[in-house]
């Protein structure tokens, strides 16, 4: 089986990657809504579209946050030990 080198990384590193994606997501979402509101035709479908987009975004972020809060992000992961954990648990049930 493949083995990672003996390096320990904090689990919160995943949150940094996630945060970088969220910066991109927030900027694009802002411009998306801004363009709709600034240039869209003022009618009920525009309001419905903005509402659906914001609601969907809120639900996805809420579900993500609820799931993420279940984990202890202060720990660190040793890649060497993690590889054996991954080998055992990733597809162990199949």
């Amino acid at each position: 089986m493949f083995e990672f080198p003996s390096i320990t990384i904090p689990l919160s590193f995943l949150l940094i990657l996630y945060g970088a994606f969220m910066v991109f997501f927030v900027i694009y979402s802002f411009f998306n809504v801004y363009h709709l509101v600034r240039y869209g035709l003022n009618n009920i479908s525009l309001r419905a579209l903005v509402l659906i987009f914001l609601s969907g975004t809120f639900i996805l972020l809420l579900l993500s946050a609820l799931q993420m809060m279940q984990y202890d992000w202060s720990g660190a992961v040793n890649l060497n030990k993690a590889s054996s954990s991954l080998n055992t648990n990733l597809f162990g049930g199949l």
Partner: protein, 192 residues
């Protein structure tokens, strides 16, 4: 927000005759992509629910799967929203005096052009293929007099009726100009 009663540079007595978007069929690939890309992982998660449950309880695999899944679904949601915004903001407005063509390309490119009806020389409606024939959508080309440029209404509903209405409005506008002795006939274009 854009208001059809207050168009940019609205002229006295000018009223909106047509407000056009692409046919709804243009959104089908977007929604099909959304259903496939979100439905497939969700079905897999349901089929292998025991395994997914074990993954989520693992102190290493759980956070990893959660972060990847969150990024995946948010990215699909954002991509789909940008495509719908693009569809929603691509519009053509035909008034009693001019045609306004507004095209959104992605989030950061936008082109708005307008054309006086008096400059229109020819309009052509094109319907190609079984799908366009059955759903009655297609293209309308508006050719201007003395200009290489032409307006292209891509994938709109009822192109034949739109072509007829534009031809009628052009004739009425030209008649009005002959009666009033106005000087018209130019294309203005602005980009953002």
């Amino acid at each position: 927000m854009m208001n059809l009663n207050q168009l940019p540079n609205q002229r006295p007595n000018e009223r909106v005759a047509l407000f056009l978007r692409r046919h709804w069929i243009a959104l089908v690939p977007v929604f099909a992509g959304l259903v496939l890309l979100t439905g497939f992982p969700v079905i897999l998660a349901i089929v292998f629910s025991d395994l997914v449950s074990r993954w989520l309880q693992d102190p290493l695999i759980g956070p990893l799967v959660t972060v990847i899944a969150s990024i995946y679904f948010l990215a699909i949601w954002l991509f789909m929203s940008v495509q719908i915004t693009d569809y929603f903001l691509d519009t053509w407005i035909v008034t009693t005096e001019r045609i306004i063509d507004i095209e959104q390309h992605g989030l950061f490119n936008r082109t708005a052009s307008e054309l006086d009806l008096a400059a229109v020389q020819d309009t052509t409606a094109e319907i190609h293929g079984i799908l366009q024939t059955v759903l009655t959508y297609g293209d309308v080309y508006v050719q201007t007099a003395g200009e290489k440029e032409r307006f292209n209404f891509r994938g709109i509903d009822n192109p034949e009726q739109v072509k007829e209405l534009i031809a009628k409005l052009v004739e009425e506008d030209k008649q009005r100009i002959r009666e009033n002795g106005e000087v018209k006939g130019k294309i203005k274009s602005t980009g953002k």
